[in-house]
Amino acid sequence: MSIPEATPETKVVKDATCTFCGCVCDDIDLTVEGTHIVDAKRACVLGNSWFLNHEVDDRPSCHVDGQPADLEVGIERAARILVDANYPLIYGLSDTTSESQRVVVGIADWIGGIVDTTTSVCHGPSGMAFQGVGEVTCSLGEVRNRADMVMFWGSNPAESHPRHFTKYSLMPKGMFLPNGRKDRTCVIVDVRKTKSAKAADIFVQIKPRRDFEGLWTLRALAQGIELDPETVEQDTGVPIATWQDLMDRMKAAKFGVIFFGMGLTMTRGKHANSEALLALTRDMNRHTRFTCKPNRGHGNVTGADNVVAWRTGYPFGVNLTRGYPRFNPGEYTASDVLARGEADAAMIIASDPMANFSQPARTHLASIPYIAFDPKETPTTRSAAVAFTVATYGINVPGTVYRMDDVPIPLRPAFESPHPSDFEILSRIKRRVRELQAGPVRVV
């Protein structure tokens, strides 16, 4: 693929949307010179790196078996891999548009496969907890305008969502918080004193793998149940006086919010940890207004949850092999289906399981034919039977993404890429899958 000549023109794209993390900041002004973004005003360190490093990769748009190939050849091979499979897995989706996500669920339905997203290895346990407990929630706009008690549990936004504090949760002067940061109390609960802890008024350093115990301590204190101080400190590593002080402040707040991260969902207990936090939030509404939100990592992982849910009724890990959707995390989720050696083909969109999955899952994925889509070269694209180099969503491709609070946001691309979008390739694969399933045309 040859890169088009950059024109000397410089243009400014106002209010572009950053899709690196779940904050999905849509107030970035990009200065673009040809196919280079040279400045990203208001972007954080992660956003700056996202915009300034996504130039056009000088690689073919398609590789088949590691060799450059025509797009048509790759699409044909991909469609045949999917149609010939008995138990195909489609996985990823958190770094592409909701328009592409919609097409992918359609393909999974036609081929009778599994569709799972990176949610299953980030906030999937929270997704399970939502179904068990429910979610008392709010938008980031409400946090900005109302939240005078802002808590982060097992989450380090200073490194994962750098504008979280300044744009949404701590610093802004809101409708009911005219003094901004001075009107808010910030609490951080974590096993280590992260960079985010510096922003906190109160830092609670909990014992590793004892989030469940800490959350249930607060649930008990919310209800005025007497606890044995020695047991509490032994279990959580935190004196009961600290927990009681925290509970008193939570009850005294006018509007509280708990943002929680993968410190809860990736640690032993997983969905039980998230359930405890959701239940605590629910309990707090007997005393004051309290809400919670998972801090979502990828730019459109929330869109993946939404699209898969409105297409199948379930948010991730959906099995469509019987022609109707079934949901069972641990059975139909990508990590499990691969680690148990069940899937016989896969299509990976905008994610990198060859770097992020367990070794048994990676070993199996490397042993089956799979298709990969990514703007950049990754361990997953390197081992793929068919690898597509695609245009980058938000930088080259328009569409819709969902912010972590389920608010849909439009993308405003900066420049065109010579590589096709994943939407275009997926749409063509879907058409070819339908043609192959229909069989040869009979001439009567």
Binding site: D116, P208, G330, D336, F357, P379
Partner: protein, 114 residues
């Protein structure tokens, strides 16, 4: 001789920037292949930045270089590494019915490599 630690893999801004720069770039590779150790554990084990250690968990083992964590960030007995290939090698395939392998709070044995 080995010591028992709890390993916390997690996001760092350098690792996040490295994803955009390219996973085969130096920034990403150095970040995901470096283990952070608390200064007190570094002193107790007579370790220096750049030394190599072996971490052995229930599901695998890795050899990595180390560096001292910023003072106060890590308590003694806890290790930190940025998400990536190395941290994933210590995860098991079983997700205990959740879809999520246990990826944080992993018990590991640390052995200093000479």
């Amino acid at each position: 001789m080995s010591d028992t630690f709890i390993l916390i893999p997690g996001r760092t801004s350098k690792q996040g920037c490295g994803i955009s720069e390219g996973k085969y770039g130096e920034n990403y590779q150095s970040e995901v292949n470096t283990l952070q150790v608390s200064p007190s554990d570094m002193e107790r084990l007579a370790l220096s930045d750049g030394d190599r250690v072996r971490l052995k968990g229930e599901h695998g083992e890795i050899d990595v270089a180390i560096k001292a964590a910023k003072k106060g960030e890590l308590p003694s007995g806890m290790l930190f590494i940025a998400y990536g290939d190395m941290s994933s090698r210590l995860m098991g395939g079983d997700t205990h019915g959740s879809g999520m392998p246990t990826s944080k709070g992993l018990d590991v044995e640390l052995t200093v490599l000479k």
